[in-house]
């Protein structure tokens, strides 16, 4: 393992433990440098600094693999000191609960004992696009950039669970990480979610130690995280220390109430939905994004305008991709590649010609493997503003 590179002397948001972070941030603000940077990141839109939440600008989603410095961050607590020091001293991963053998692994153990795999995997926050809901929903006001596709290297979670011997009574795999609660109370847990056993046993669900060929960056869970692609990214626990195999649906922080849950039935916008009518979000819906050109582009020359972007879905591949330049009256098919591996996003490319100069909207619509398409409008209002997979639209002025 390569050590995490040394810290710059400049204070970065989230680059200090919780207790010390207060004064560091205060000093930064007092010096007029507030809102500056998140450690290890550049050019993100920062939504909050405690905890760090920051999203990728659309143009930076254009590369096949979202780079480590551009990938969105959704933290619930502070950054563990280990993530910054890069030290593995005292670190282990414990597997317990509904297993035949409680096991404890060092990172070396995991790497030596199980087959190492690399996969390009999409992680998307369940609240990506929340800012478009009307009436507004509380939470991070993500626009379009709480999604990314990086190349992760690790072992299959199912191999590790298999070594521990999952009992017949197991139904859920819960995680606990090292991230400290922002209250500073060591007994508080900022987030502890998990996945149904079936998702944990999926071939693509990994315990990863590398992201794009580098050790997991501090904000992405050094030294080890779950990557359960297709599900809300909050199930892909970071800074892992424990996997608790449970005989019931996990009830840790951010599993209950309204967190990462939507109503079991369609509700009118603004409805006060009873808590017992909320259900946990499973696979994310089909979605796509235009990464080139950027919205607001002025297209000169009269020739066709090349369009490209990415399409993905939470439970299988995307089968078709279309563009419309006339508000959905007609649709142009795009070229759509096969995914590099399950849960990798897929490149689409198309071109649009404009016969008459003027203002246009381009709409992008993905269709998944079951024929489900992205909706034109922001779909299914829900109390916390999850699962907005409305078509991406960009404005084009044809000159």
């Amino acid at each position: 393992m390569k050590p995490v590179s040394g810290l710059s002397r400049r204070r970065f948001i989230g680059a200090v433990p919780v207790a010390a972070g207060v004064s560091a941030l205060a000093l930064e603000r007092a010096a007029g440098q507030g809102g500056g940077a998140v450690f290890g990141k550049s050019g993100l839109r920062i939504l909050s600094e405690r905890p760090v939440n920051a999203e990728t600008l659309v143009a930076d989603l254009d590369p096949r693999y979202t780079s480590n410095d551009k990938h969105f961050v959704r933290n619930n607590g502070g950054l563990p000191e280990r993530a910054l020091s890069g030290s593995l001293e005292g670190w282990s991963l414990r597997i317990d609960g509904e297993v035949g053998n409680t096991l404890e692994f060092s990172l070396d153990d995991l790497q030596a004992r199980f087959e190492t795999v690399s996969r390009a995997l999409v992680l998307e926050c369940a609240g990506n696009g929340r800012a478009a809901f009307q009436p507004g929903a509380s939470g991070n006001q993500w626009w379009l950039g709480a999604v990314g596709c990086a190349r992760y290297t690790g072992v299959r979670l199912r191999d590790v669970l298999g070594a521990a011997g999952v009992r017949d009574t197991a139904v859920y795999v819960a995680y606990y990480g090292e991230d400290p609660h922002l209250s500073g109370n060591p007994d508080d847990v900022p987030i502890s979610r998990g996945v149904p056993l079936s998702k944990a046993m999926d071939e693509s669900t990994l315990l990863a130690w590398e992201m794009n060929g580098e050790p997991l960056p501090p904000h992405h869970g050094f030294p080890l995280r779950i990557v359960a692609p297709g599900f809300p990214a909050s199930v892909s626990g970071k800074w892992l220390r424990r996997l608790w195999v449970r005989d019931q649906v996990h009830d840790g922080p951010k599993m209950m109430g309204y967190s990462y849950r939507v109503p079991r039935y369609p509700v009118a916008p603004g409805t006060d939905v009873p808590e017992e009518d909320m259900e946990i979000i499973g696979p994310m819906p089909v979605k796509s994004i235009i990464t080139r050109p950027e919205t607001g582009v002025r297209h000169a020359g009269g020739g066709p305008l090349a369009i490209r972007g990415w399409a993905w879905a939470g439970d299988g591949p995307v089968n078709a991709m279309h563009l419309s330049a006339d508000f959905g009256t007609t649709w142009l098919p795009c070229q759509l590649e096969e995914p590099e591996n399950p849960f990798a996003w897929q490149r689409f490319e198309g071109s649009v010609a404009f016969d008459i100069p003027g203002h246009y909207e381009l709409w992008a619509r993905a269709t998944d493997h079951q024929g489900r398409q992205q909706p034109m409008v922001v779909p299914g209002w829900n109390p916390r503003g999850y699962l907005n997979n409305a078509m991406h639209r960009i404005a084009v002025t044809a000159l």
Binding site: S138, G139, Q141, L144, S183, G184, P274, V378, R393, A395
Partner: protein, 134 residues
């Protein structure tokens, strides 16, 4: 109300409330006029996150109180009761419930709030009839 009390993803964490700057040996932050609600928001809320968290919501006072409770659940130290009342006064005044549902072209404030969204560049709002019929 319940959904706001129980919801937990906003990060309104008033770092400045941990202790006053002088006690921590830090330079004083910008002076706050006690009667200035926006300044109190700046000092206590925007220290940790941007104002999109607030602009997205239009709530009655008791639900804003629920949001503050939610923040405490996430690690926010409780506010001085007087400061909390002033903040709630401000939120109630500036971010209280809208009188009507947002309607395309009808509400300048709604447009202003979405002006900086990437999807605001397209100027057509989907399904305007839905809102007009309500």
């Amino acid at each position: 109300m319940k959904r706001l009390l129980l919801a937990g993803a906003i990060a309104l964490l008033p770092v400045a409330a941990f202790a006053n700057p002088e006690e921590r040996g830090l330079p004083a932050l910008a002076a706050v006029q006690e009667s200035d609600g926006q300044a109190l928001i700046d000092e206590n809320c925007l220290y940790c996150h941007d104002d999109s968290y607030i602009r997205a919501l239009h709530l009655p006072r008791e639900e804003w109180e629920g949001v503050l409770d939610m923040m405490i659940g996430m690690g926010m130290p409780p506010l001085d009761p007087e400061v909390q009342e002033q903040i709630l006064d401000y939120l109630e005044e500036e971010h209280g419930p809208r009188e009507s549902s947002p309607s395309p072209g009808a509400g300048a404030s709604a447009d202003a709030e979405t002006e900086d969204l990437p999807w605001a560049f397209p100027r057509y709002r989907p399904n305007p009839l839905f809102w007009r019929e309500r």
